[in-house]
Symmetry: C2
Subunit: 201 residues, 2 copies
């Protein structure tokens, strides 16, 4: 049975984006500082990872069969133009289906507008069909954590201080929460790959 995890690149001060959507050059430096060429499914988007970080990413994605994302991430990327860089189906939790999105109906994107994060996770799990579900975006990751729907929290901890912006995790209604781990800890170049298991009550 697959797990539901979140995994983001995060600064030492806890941000997944700097002020005004800045800082991505720094947060994603580890996607560009090695020799392993990784062609994504997005035209023109090629990573150059170190062997260590490539192995981490490979391992993380090996069983990932769906991503669940929030509307903010969908909007920033314009829904990755209908195809996620990792070529995995995407579930979007949103109040309204973006009616003017040109890939509506043709792309492997499912919009969940009712039932909140529980329904969105259920939909993503159904699509993943026994595989893992990756949750992306701080708000939706926090909602999943708060609702007891998250099995693992991963972070690619990057040695930068962004000094403001979008935090990985927001306020929890059901905190504090104990986690186990790191159950995996790998030092890459300009990044520490960490994973924690959420303890179920």
């Amino acid at each position: 049975m697959g797990i539901v995890y979140t995994e983001m690149s995060v600064s030492l001060d806890g941000y997944i984006a700097g002020p005004g959507e800045s800082g991505f050059d720094r947060l994603f430096r580890w996607y560009e500082n090695g020799d392993v060429v990784w062609e994504t499914a997005s035209p023109g988007l090629t990573f150059r990872l170190t062997e260590v970080s490539a192995a981490e990413l490979r391992e993380r994605l090996a069983n990932t069969r769906a991503f669940l994302v929030g509307r903010r991430l969908f909007d920033i990327t314009n829904g990755w133009e209908g195809r996620h860089p990792f070529d995995v189906p995407v579930v979007v939790l949103t109040h309204e289906v973006p009616k003017d999105w040109p890939h509506l109906g043709t792309a492997p994107f499912t919009f969940v507008t009712e039932g909140g994060v529980e329904a969105a996770v259920a939909t993503a799990k159904r699509i993943a069909d026994g595989g893992d579900v990756g949750v992306n975006g701080g708000t939706i990751a926090t909602q999943c954590l708060d609702a007891g729907l998250l099995d693992e929290v991963g972070m690619a901890l990057v040695p930068v201080m962004l000094g403001g912006g979008v935090p990985y995790f927001g306020e929890l209604e059901n905190g504090p929460l104990d986690l186990e781990g790191p159950i995996r800890s790998v030092q890459g170049k300009d990044v520490t790959h960490l994973r924690y298991r959420v303890r179920r009550p």
Copy 2:
């Protein structure tokens, strides 16, 4: 020549205290989960550390000859009743000297009320006399970082989500900042000890 560092126990969501000064039982669990008995200078305060974490703490304190703390931490601890648990002189950056503090004039505490964080760091360095200065408290650590006065950032990363509270680092005026490292990374029990070097422009 000594360095100026900050080092705090911090949750995965970036807090050094939970909502309403909660969460210390979780953040400081690693001070209590081992067999190495560590008598502090504070009556009744004894740590029981694992060997790994005791070694980290020993290493960190070996050359620490002064602490610089903010007023919030001073107030929470009531100035450690005049003697820091690690028996090191303390410099307090504050707008006003706490006139009703019973240890005023007898304890090795120096209050800096003018010249801001620059003056406070200079005072702490003079007292440390070539040793290291440890900066404690998120607000003052952020101020030091912003002013280019910090050489190292350490964190004892604890596998807990506090879901709110007091963040380690606040907003930076002079961010973003690149750091180097981790220059030290040690996995303890219920804690990951990490250190980063601040890059000087």
